[in-house]
């Protein structure tokens, strides 16, 4: 199965599998990530995203399957791979008891960044993370959004061609998240391949291609637009007085594929495309004694598409 990798492919895996005892965390993952692409792993917690990224970064040995990262064999050339990747883990994992400057110095030392290049990269990280003038602050004292940007900076000090980010934005406020994605796109624009995982489904929009994972399996692999098109079934938005009760009534109804909570509203997917979809939803709810203020057919969002995919896979 092993053969020379193609230069335009940054990451290539075939049938990559990781088992923990009886539990299969990642089940025969096969995909390619092109150079310069922003690729997202999406899916609920426990879907296997983190396990997949850990295998790709050499932190976890695959149970079976093959992979190449930056042109090097995942099974035999981990040292070469580690020099060519940046990795930022799910947990914030810089040293909290080191200052900003000391963390940068440590990772520069580990990645062999020295001399004038170090000065230049250091300045770049500080500017990028918005930490100029705060070099002597302890990392533990920084707000989470700044910590994340510093961690990103430390992960790319050596300007790796491929960057792996495992849920980099979890727990961060929306503005910091947006800023973080701008940074990712900046780096991708400069030629870096970015593989990122997230459980925020709206973040899929920021990726060029998305791999949707559920229970260890890759259940869809497409562009965000392709995923939206793939949903196919009619989607209705419902406003009612008792959303949780309404979900129960609707899920028990023939012809309803799914009913899910979206803020204070419900998104209801029907099995078939009929002219009386809205009316039948209203009838069902009113029969169950609920007041319905609005039922409207809407264009599915990416989130709807992904939820539907994962639900369908979970059965």
């Amino acid at each position: 199965m092993r053969e020379a990798p193609r230069p335009e492919v940054a990451v290539e895996v075939r049938e990559l599998t990781r088992r923990f005892g009886d539990f299969t965390a990642v089940d025969r993952l096969t995909l390619e990530v092109r150079r310069g692409e922003v690729f997202g792993f999406l899916g609920p917690n426990g879907a296997g995203k983190t396990t997949a990224i850990k295998m790709l970064t050499g932190l976890l040995r695959p149970s079976s399957g093959d992979g190449w990262v930056a042109g090097h064999d995942l099974g035999r050339e981990l040292d070469a791979i580690r020099r060519r990747i940046g990795y930022m883990s799910q947990l914030f994992s810089l040293y909290p008891d080191l200052t900003v400057a000391e963390n940068i110095a440590l990772f520069a030392g580990l990645y062999g960044v020295t001399g004038p290049r170090l000065a230049e990269r250091r300045a770049w990280v500080l500017r990028m993370a918005g930490l100029e003038g705060r070099e002597r602050r302890l990392t533990a004292e920084l707000p989470l959004g700044w910590k994340q940007r510093l961690a990103l900076g430390c992960a790319v000090l050596h300007q790796p061609p491929i960057l792996f980010l495992d849920e980099p934005t979890s727990g961060v406020d929306p503005i910091s998240r947006r800023r973080f994605w701008d940074l990712i796109h900046e780096m991708a624009g400069a030629g870096t391949t970015v593989v990122v995982s997230t459980h925020y489904m709206e973040e899929a929009e920021y990726c060029e291609r998305v791999g949707v994972m559920s229970r260890g399996r890759l259940v869809a692999l497409d562009t965000p637009a392709g995923l939206r098109r793939g949903l196919g079934r009619p989607l209705y938005e419902v406003e009612t007085d008792d959303v949780l009760g309404a979900i129960e009534s609707l899920r028990a109804t023939v012809g309803v594929v799914d009913a899910a909570l979206y803020g204070r509203r419900l998104h209801v997917t029907l099995a078939g495309d009929g002219p009386h979809g809205a009316a039948s939803i209203r009838r069902t709810l009113e029969a169950a004694g609920r007041r319905v203020s609005r039922v409207e057919r809407i264009t599915p969002s990416l989130e709807d598409a992904i939820v539907a995919l994962v639900r369908a896979h979970e059965g």
Partner: protein, 379 residues
């Protein structure tokens, strides 16, 4: 992952070491453990542990109360080993003194003691000793017998026919002329202390990295595992050596333990021992990955055998064979032997090489295990 053949990078090693020093400097818990605890413990143990039995609480039930019995009691007091704590009036009162522990030895002098002596009849004496501390009781009895024997000799000299000059052995004790147990304990104490320090400090540094997730971040960089282990080891070795010399200085100055050997040799051998001790600590921390568990396992694996089987306090030569065999693989035992040799005997490698060799093996093993345990891939 440090496969054989991958060259160590001094820059990466130093980056890890520098980071470790900064973290140490900012962590009061580690600093106290590194610099205050050893000094505190050596003072505490040095003052508390003493196998010298003196100032034995003595109660005298003198039913004769004549010149001879008073001379005998006086003999006890002047010996320097006994403190006359009470003169109970009845056997019951004497018993209570033993029960309360205020007296360790009760001397019962019968009413006809003086008369018997004067008449040249054997004069019985009774000594009741608190045997709950068997070791101390034996020593107290031995002292008591010596005092009585001395008294008997004097009495014989005064009275009857000229006694034969008693056989007088000339005893010379080497290395520890005063048979001061502190001289024996303090050098050994250094070894046990280093075991404790190594176990606690390393369990903090390594397990903390796993708990915080920073180890994973390190593992994703090109740093080799030997670089991580050595980078962490360097600062701790320096601390360990400072501790060895500061506790040795305390032994010398405070407890007046002589140091007769080569100071450089002490440094060199301690270095080797510390490499092994810290290596073992790192290995344990890397395997169990939790600070609490690492401390507990270290205590069990390194500190406890170090305390019990090193000969630091309990003589290995008098232990049953299985324990003696077991003690051969306790590194602290060899280190204790070396420390005593250096402190008290002033010998060098010509006498200590077997122990030094054992410590070299220990260092190699500890370091090897630590590097092996730092697998960068998990699972």
């Amino acid at each position: 992952m440090g496969r054989p053949g991958v060259r160590l990078s001094p820059a990466r090693l130093l980056a890890v070491a520098r980071k470790e020093v900064i973290q140490l400097r900012r962590d009061p818990r580690s600093l106290i453990m590194a610099f205050v605890l050893p000094v505190l413990l050596v003072l505490l143990f040095g003052y508390a542990i003493s196998f010298d039995v003196d100032r034995i609480g003595l109660a005298v039930l003198d039913r004769d109360n004549g010149a001879s019995s008073r001379a005998l009691v006086d003999g006890f007091r002047r010996s320097g080993y006994f403190d006359l704590v009470d003169r109970p009036a009845s056997p019951g009162a004497a018993e209570r003194l033993l029960e309360r522990g205020s007296a360790r030895l009760v001397l019962v002098i019968p009413p006809d003691f003086g008369a018997s002596l004067g008449a040249g009849r054997p004069a019985p004496l009774q000594a009741l000793v608190d045997g709950s501390d068997a070791n101390g009781a034996g020593i107290a009895l031995a002292y008591a017998e010596a005092v009585v024997a001395d008294f008997a000799r004097r009495a014989a000299g005064r009275g009857g026919p000229a006694a034969k000059p008693p056989l007088r052995p000339e005893i010379r004790v080497w290395y520890n002329e005063r048979l001061d147990s502190r001289r024996m304990i303090v050098p050994g104490l250094i070894a046990v202390l280093m075991m404790i320090i190594a176990a606690m400090l390393t369990s903090l540094t390594i397990a903390r990295e796993w708990e915080r997730g920073t180890m994973e971040q390190l593992a994703a960089t090109p740093v080799a595992r030997a670089e991580v282990v050595l980078g962490k080891l360097l600062p701790y070795l320096a601390i360990g050596l400072i501790d060895v010399f500061s506790t040795a200085a305390i032994g010398r100055v405070v407890f007046e333990v002589p140091y007769r050997g080569d100071v450089l040799l002490l440094g060199a051998i301690s270095f080797v021992f510390l490499v092994g001790a810290f290596g073992l600590g790192m290995f344990i921390s890397a395997v169990v990955k939790s600070q609490l568990l690492a401390t507990q396992v270290s205590m069990l694996v390194s500190y406890l055998p170090g305390f019990l089987l090193s000969g630091f306090a309990f003589d290995v030569a008098t232990m049953p064979l299985p324990l003696r065999a077991l003690s051969a693989v306790v590194p602290a035992r060899h280190y204790v032997t070396i420390l005593r040799g250096l402190f008290l005997k002033g010998v060098g490698l010509e006498a200590l090489w077997p122990e030094a060799l054992a410590l070299l093996v220990f260092a190699g093993l500890g370091l090897g295990l630590a590097v092996r345990a730092f697998r960068k891939e998990t699972g």
